[in-house]
Amino acid sequence: MSIQTILLTLVALLLFSYFLGRKRSLRSVKKGRGGDKLHSRPAYYGYMVALWAGIPAVIVLLLWTMFQSQIVTSLTVAGLPETMQAESQGGHGLVINEIMNLADSGMVAEKSDPTLKAAAEHYLRLRGISHQAIAVLALVAAVIGMLLGLRMVRPDTRARNVVERAIVWTMLGCAAIAILTTVGIVLSVLFESLRFFHAVPITDFLFGLTWSPQTALRADQVGSSGAFGAVPLFAGTMLISAIALAVAVPLGLMSAIYLSDYASPMMRAITKPVLEVLAGIPTVVYGFFAALTVAPFIRQAGEALGLDVASESALAAGLVMGIMLIPFISSLSDDALSAVPRAMRDGSLGLGATRSETIRKVLIPAALPGIVGGILLAASRAIGETMIVVMAAGLSANLTINPLEAVTTVTVQIVTLLTGDQEFDSPKTLAAFALGLGLFVITLLLNIVALKVIRRYREQYE
């Protein structure tokens, strides 16, 4: 039985148990078993029985997906001749891989080696059995659960509370998945980074001023040891993000103020969605806009002024990225400003303040948490942005604060490190994890600083 069939059958079973539970609750109250009035609406008894049927089945299925490949492989290995067994333990599962490949490619018949052929067939057979077994197990679990659940349908059973609790647990589970995934990612990045720091001293990485991760293939080649100084990358990231924010914060904030306090309803109805479309444009599109339109323009403008501008420059990338970030700031700030109660505006205007005084002295302070939130979101996007930088700012790791030169950023280097064929434990590949860890730490610090800003403001005023 394929997994789809199992799931379909399960769903059908759940529906069946829902109706059964519902009906039984109605019947039980008629018979007067355990009270003459249902504690909950009949539907809740249906949900309860469905839960009783569904949860065991799901647990069985989950356990199976977690352990089935291990069990099947170890059984296959156990079926191998002694010599091969020893080999499969020592040789990093090479034999097992071969068996699996053989089985999956479906060309068992053509393979010459009879032991391998036998093993592959054995493996396939085991897998088939495991599929059958799980179908039976899951359905049996569901039916047993359903029967147990049905036994609990009595008028005085608090089915509504049971369902409520199940919902709470489900939500908790969803939250936990998000958190656990984050923790998992952080841990894996952390461990890979530690491996990298075994190969390259952490001080070289943090304080080195040259980034050239090209390790040689042979030890006697020139430049055999790559340089992993991350300073130019982080400097490039900071430079481009600073330019982008210098564009996005004033523009975004001003548009937000205009939208929330000056624009007519018509204007607002048109402008706000249009601004938000900016957020929907794919970054590649921004990227080639930056590379093909803005960068040449800056270069020409620079030449007219007698400046030496690289054809790929931090300025071009930063400007375009700034445009991209406007909606993040304008949208969130607009919401925050509009959420300030009208009474605050009236109070200020009623004291003889002008509109802009009201905005500066009352609205912006009151909306500060929302505004800071928007800027923070924009900053994280700027730091994480890759596409625009690759296309408009180049790949050369210059250590400079001159926005007219080409620079590169952390994310761009991560991409270049990991694209193409790579050995997975060379320092070059592992460096990507260290860079990722660095980015993560920076964004974290940014968040903490922003929280502090908001909290200080709150302490003062609320």
């Binding site: 007519s264 309803p265 109660p341 009474a343 605050m344 505006r345 009236d346 109070g347 200020s348 205007l349 009623g350 004291l351 003889g352 303040a353 002008t354 005084e357 002295k361 009352v362 302070p365 009151a366 003062q460 005023y461 609320e462």
Partner: protein, 296 residues
């Protein structure tokens, strides 16, 4: 609404007084539930503020119909009437707060000390410093008590030094009867005060810019009786320096604090008379219905 009014039992019917004479007449209109101009005494000698033929529109909808009313110097005038009759709207025309509502349009003549406040050369922002406003719900800014009171003086540059500002703040808080309660916490947030204290803070904030008129829109409707009594006492003290117009839903409050009372009904000004007269011998049938609790 007029045609669903119950006929008053025990009162003669049939006679309708058509009031074409100026609104100063003493005619007692008992039976005419249609509003034909204002009865009573809407005008005073040497008014602080005056409105003539005031019409206010929200888009297509007219909210105030041809209201003419004077507000005397150093008096408290109470504005009463059923909900939605336009009291707040009329009050806001007096300091041009209606300008902040895009769809709102004001017609007629409105004067402060004889100057038309809607004249093109008038600056509504400066006007609002002269005609202050206290709102229904206390709305202190999320700033410290000190900064709340200092807000207006700072805007208008009323204090040159910090000491002067301190003095203005203290004086305003004293006049609003709040100083003793908050003198040690001037730098605590104004939003942390109780409702009654917050409303007195808002009054102090309005006083701090030294206005000539204070408009109060249901200043005590969010407060308990004790806080209300404090504010009413305060209004009585304030009237020696300021002219006050107060909108209220509490007839007891109107009776306690005001010298004159104006009764609004569906956007029209029905009756204006000395307060004791309005509450003892109302001149207009609608006023009587309202104060005897027949509707509204």
């Amino acid at each position: 609404m007029t045609d669903v009014l119950p006929t008053m039992p025990g009162l003669p019917t049939g006679e309708t007084v058509v009031d074409d004479t100026p609104p100063m007449t003493e005619t007692r209109e008992e039976f005419d539930v249609e509003i034909k101009g204002t009865v009573g005494a809407p005008f005073v000698d040497d008014p602080k503020m005056s409105a003539r033929h005031s019409n206010v529109f929200y888009g297509e909808k007219q909210a105030i119909f041809d209201v003419s009313l004077d507000i005397g110097r150093n008096e408290i005038i109470a504005m009463i009437g059923p909900s939605g009759c336009g009291k707040s709207t009329f009050l806001r025309t007096l300091n041009r707060m209606n300008d902040t509502i895009p769809i709102c349009r004001v017609e007629g003549e409105h004067c402060l000390d004889g100057e038309d406040i809607y004249a093109p050369d008038q600056d509504p922002v400066l006007l609002r410093a002269r005609v202050g406003m206290v709102f229904q719900k206390p709305n202190p800014f999320p700033k410290s008590i000190y900064d709340n009171v200092a807000y207006g003086p700072r805007l208008h540059g009323l204090a040159r030094t910090r000491a002067e500002l301190d003095e203005i703040v203290e004086k305003s808080l004293v006049r609003a009867g709040l100083f003793n309660e908050v003198k040690d916490d001037l730098h605590k947030p104004g939003t942390g005060l109780s409702g009654g204290q917050q409303q007195r803070l808002c009054i102090a904030r309005a006083i701090a810019v030294d206005p000539e008129v204070i408009l109060m829109d249901e200043p005590t409707s969010a407060l308990d009786p004790i806080a209300t009594a404090t504010i009413e006492e305060l209004m009585d003290e304030l009237k020696s320096r300021y002219t006050i117009a107060v909108v209220t839903h509490s007839m007891q409050q109107a009776a306690r604090v005001s010298q004159r009372t104006a009764y609004f009904h569906m956007g029209k000004l029905v009756e204006v008379n000395p307060t004791n007269q309005v509450f003892t011998t109302p001149q207009h049938q609608l006023t009587e219905n309202y104060i005897t609790g027949r509707f509204g």
